[in-house]
Amino acid sequence: MHFAVYVGYVVLLSLCSSLVMNFRSRRHIVAAALAAVLVVTLVSPPAAPAQGSLITAVQAVLNVINGVIQAALQAISSVRAAVGTFYQSVAWPVELIAQARVEVLQMMNRYRHLMAGILNINLKSATLPAPQALENLMRDHQINNFRGLRQAFTNAYRTIPPAADASPEDRAMADMDDALALDNLETLKATDSATDLELQAADSLENAAAQAAPGSAPFLTAAATASSIRSQALTQKMLAAELRQEAAKMAHGNELRKRGATFTLQLRGVLINLLQHN
C-alpha cells in the first residue's frame, strides 16, 4: 500500500514538473498546481492518530468494562441470588414442604382408620328371616344382585294384589309405591358402591399428597376438585330420588283424598235419599 502511494507520488511529481516547464501562462501553472494539490490531498492516507489518543481510547474501554459492565453484571448476579433466596426461603422453603408432607401423613394415620371404622359399623337390626335377607341385600354395596333384592323385597312386602282383590287405582298406586321404593333401594346400592370408590380415590389423593412437590400438587388438587363435582352429582341423584319418593308419597295421600271426597259426596247423597224416603 505504502509502496503504491510513493510510486504515485513520483509519477505525479514528474507530471507536474513537466507541466510547469511547458506552461507559458501563469494561469496554467496555477491551475496545474491546484489540481495537483487537490489530487494528492484526495488520495493521501488519513492522518495517523497520536499516541496520546490511543492511551485515552484504551482507558475508555477499560473504564466501560470496570464501570458500567461490571456494575450491571454485579446487579444481575445479586438480583438472581435474591430470587434464589426468595424461592428457597419464602416461596418454597424445603423445611415447610417437608413439614406439610409430615402433617399429611400424621392426619392420615390419625383419621383414616377412625373414619373407616365409623363408616363400617354394622347397622343391621332386622330379626326375622325375610326382613333380614332384605336388609342384608339393601346394605351390601353390591350392584350385581338386583334380582335377589327384588325377590327379598317381595318376600318382605308381598306382591301387588290381583285384579280381583283390589281396585285398579289401589293396584296402580301400590305398584308405583313399590316401584319407587325398589328403584331407590337399587339406586342406593349403586350409590354406596360409588361412595366406596370415592373414598378409595380420596385415599389415593391423600397418599399422593404426602409425597407431592409444589409443582405436582396442582394435579392432585385439580383431580380432587373434579372428584368433588362427581360427589355433588351423586348427591344430586340421591336428592332426585328423594324428591321422587316424597312426591309419590304425597301423590298417594292425595289420591286417597280425591277418593275420600268422592265417597263423602256419594255417602251424603245416600243419606239425603234415605232421610227423604223416611
Binding site: V30, L54, Y87, I160, D175, T225, A233, A261
Partner: protein, 266 residues
C-alpha cells in the same frame, strides 16, 4: 550547470514557486514502524489489559451469574417441579379417571321395577334423565294418581288442596328429572377436566383447577336447587296436614249443626 539552474529558476520564478509549493504540500507523511515503535507496544499492553479485564470482570461476573442460575435451576428441578413426582401425579390422575368412569357407570344403572302399564310409564318418565320427557310427566302422573275431582265431586276447599298437592308432587318429579340430567352433565364435565389434568403441565393445572372449582360451585347450586324443591315439597306436605285438620273441624261443625237441625225438626 549550477549557473544554468539558477538562471532557469530566475527565469521561471513563478513556476519554481509553484513547484516548491506542490512539493511541500504533497510530501508523504512519515509512517510508524512495526518494530521498536513505542506506540505499538502501548497498543499491545492496552489490548492485554483489556483482555485481562474482560476475563476478570466480565467473565467473573458471568460465572457468578451462571452458578446462581445453576443453583436456582437445581432447586426448581429437585424441589419445586421434580419431573418424577409430576409424572407420578399424572399417573395417579389416570388411575382415578378409571375409578371415576366406574362411578359414572354406577350412576346410570337401570333400576326400573314397576309391573303395571300405568305405573311403568310414569316410572320410565321419572327415571328418564331426559328434560324433554318433562312435558309427558303430567299425563303419566294423572294416569296413576287421577285428576282433580270435578266441582260436583268435591268441595272447593278439597279441590284446592288436591290441586296444590298434585302440583307440588308433579313439580318435584319434574325437578328430579332435571336434577338427574344436570348430574349427568356434571359427571361428563368432571371426566373431561380429569382427562385434561392428565395431560396438563404444572403451570396449566391450576387453570383446570379453577375451571373445576367453577363447576363445583355450579354443582353446589344444583344441589341447593334440589334441596329447595325437597323443602317445598315437605312444606306443602305440612300444609296438607294442617288443611286436613281444618277440613275436619269444619266438617265436625257442619255435622253438629245438621244434627241440631234434625233434632229441632223432630
Amino acid at each position: 550547470m549550477p549557473k544554468r539552474g539558477v538562471a532557469w529558476i530566475r527565469k521561471h520564478r513563478l513556476g519554481t514557486a509553484a513547484l516548491v509549493l506542490v512539493l511541500f504540500a504533497t510530501t508523504p507523511h512519515t509512517g510508524n514502524g512495526q518494530f521498536l515503535d513505542p506506540c505499538c507496544a502501548m497498543l499491545a499492553a492496552g489490548l492485554t489489559t483489556i483482555s485481562n479485564t474482560l476475563s476478570n470482570v466480565v467473565g467473573g461476573g458471568l460465572h457468578s451469574i451462571l452458578s446462581v442460575e445453576q443453583s436456582i435451576s437445581h432447586f426448581e428441578q429437585q424441589v419445586v417441579w421434580p419431573q418424577a413426582l409430576i409424572s407420578q401425579a399424572r399417573a395417579l390422575v389416570g388411575q382415578l379417571q378409571g375409578t371415576f368412569n366406574q362411578i359414572q357407570a354406577l350412576s346410570q344403572i337401570p333400576v326400573n321395577s314397576a309391573t303395571l302399564p300405568g305405573s311403568q310409564q310414569l316410572e320410565q318418565n321419572l327415571l328418564s334423565r331426559n328434560p324433554n320427557q318433562i312435558a309427558q310427566t303430567t299425563a303419566a302422573y294423572n294416569a296413576v294418581y287421577g285428576t282433580v275431582p270435578g266441582e260436583t265431586d268435591a268441595s272447593a276447599q278439597v279441590r284446592d288442596l288436591v290441586d296444590m298437592t298434585d302440583a307440588a308432587a308433579q313439580a318435584a318429579m319434574k325437578r328430579a328429572i332435571e336434577i338427574d340430567s344436570l348430574a349427568d352433565l356434571e359427571l361428563q364435565a368432571a371426566g373431561q377436566i380429569t382427562a385434561s389434568v392428565e395431560d396438563a403441565a404444572p403451570g396449566s393445572a391450576p387453570i383446570l383447577e379453577a375451571q373445576a372449582d367453577a363447576w363445583l360451585i355450579r354443582a353446589n347450586a344444583c344441589t341447593q336447587a334440589a334441596t329447595a324443591d325437597l323443602l317445598r315439597l315437605r312444606a306443602v306436605d305440612l300444609a296438607d296436614s294442617s288443611a286436613e285438620l281444618k277440613i275436619g273441624a269444619s266438617s265436625t261443625a257442619n255435622l253438629r249443626q245438621g244434627l241440631i237441625n234434625l233434632l229441632q225438626h223432630n
